[in-house]
Symmetry: C2
Subunit: 239 residues, 2 copies
Amino acid sequence: MPGSIGHHGANGQLPCDRCIGKQYNICQLLEPSRQRELLDTSCRQRFDKRSYLFRAGSPVGAVFKVTSGIVAESCTLADGRRQVIAFFLPGDICGYLESDGCHAFDGEAITAAETCSFNRERFSAFVNRNRDVAEEMRRNLADRLKMVGTHLSVVGQLTSTERVANFVAMMTIAYAARNVQTRPLPLPMKRSDIADYLGLRLETVSRAFSKLRQRNIIDVQEDEVLVLDQVRLNQLSNR
Amino acid sequence: MPGSIGHHGANGQLPCDRCIGKQYNICQLLEPSRQRELLDTSCRQRFDKRSYLFRAGSPVGAVFKVTSGIVAESCTLADGRRQVIAFFLPGDICGYLESDGCHAFDGEAITAAETCSFNRERFSAFVNRNRDVAEEMRRNLADRLKMVGTHLSVVGQLTSTERVANFVAMMTIAYAARNVQTRPLPLPMKRSDIADYLGLRLETVSRAFSKLRQRNIIDVQEDEVLVLDQVRLNQLSNR
DNA sequence: CGGTTAGTTGAGTGCATTCAATCCCAGTGG
DNA sequence: CCACTGGGATTGAATGCACTCAACTAACCG
């Protein structure tokens, strides 16, 4: 049931038009003719909340550019433990790089989501034909590698409260780069999603939010957070 | 003091010639003419144990292909906490992808190491000129992204013993792919390096090794490990 | 020999977990 | 309208795993 979209609301979607700064939209780098050429290889797709764009181990299909909602890349162990590798926000490309023709991780719509889905072969061909686009993809990839590495050091080294503080700080930066409101900061994902992202239990995440609230660093309400003390938040974040 | 190299021994180096399977050596993909062209842009470099190939925040320089020894990519927080993102073994390329012209992480020689160091501009130009090499680099990159993601789920979800078991299993696979001996499996890095890699304390790593030894899953001596029960090791590793 | 570095092991602590109770809210149906 | 239900979040109490601090061993080197 993909309800109405394009506004901030209870369904937690992020509007497409306001989210995508130039640097996050390869299409907007291009002049109209190439833009049309690229868009001809694509179609819009909607994904219900909690549906999968792709599954780990399955052969790769489309290349997805998220245009609204949030997609989580995750993997689940045999006993059910789950690790969220990354959240993809509007403008992000996901499901692109897979080494052996199969997806390494699950791609799940955390909220209802929309994507611009490119035919993989034609997308790759387009990238190969356009040196500047290839360079942009390379840069994009380097960013991802850096982000995952940074995330790894968060999960490996920080305490629970530090991790949650870092998460809030990161999301603030990510939203700001996309010109999405950050005051308050919408966090449409569930506590358990945040927990799986940070390598914690959902109760621990909840406690950390409470601790940050008690210290007057943030204000928490439902699925929004208001940062009250950016300086102390960044200190706690270790950045 | 870069002593004698090219043999397995107390210094923990891995010999170049035996380590590098074809799939791990872009040079060997190429016919002699292009091979020479590429090597003309490179020089051999030696790094002392515990010296840095590059530092986080510093402008990128050469692109390194490790030819012997082990290089760790890591980052250190203000208070000294350190996270090892990845170990680079002979054949691996490191220091290549950096988004903004600066290194995101430290690159440190964990053992004495040798590299084939490429001039970055000329290396990039070579890659751009050769479609097959570019494809190989892309594949390499996809592998790295997958490995870091997998590592993240290890650090985020597994218990200390599981993490160490996973580490041993991973190293076994990595060595086997390079045709390096795995029985016994040389682990030249210090306990504290393993600890920083796995998000644990060195004492915890030591205890985990002891626990695996007591269960007759591995045999531990100095800087070598002998896997006694690959099946149970893999079970514990969650793979 | 003493000094340094690396590793192992023990004892006790603390932080995140587990288990459980409660609350809130949206949705549904009597 | 109100009662009921289920999902998500918060909080409390108790447990346990990894951490801290410390002692000890072994190897190496000046």
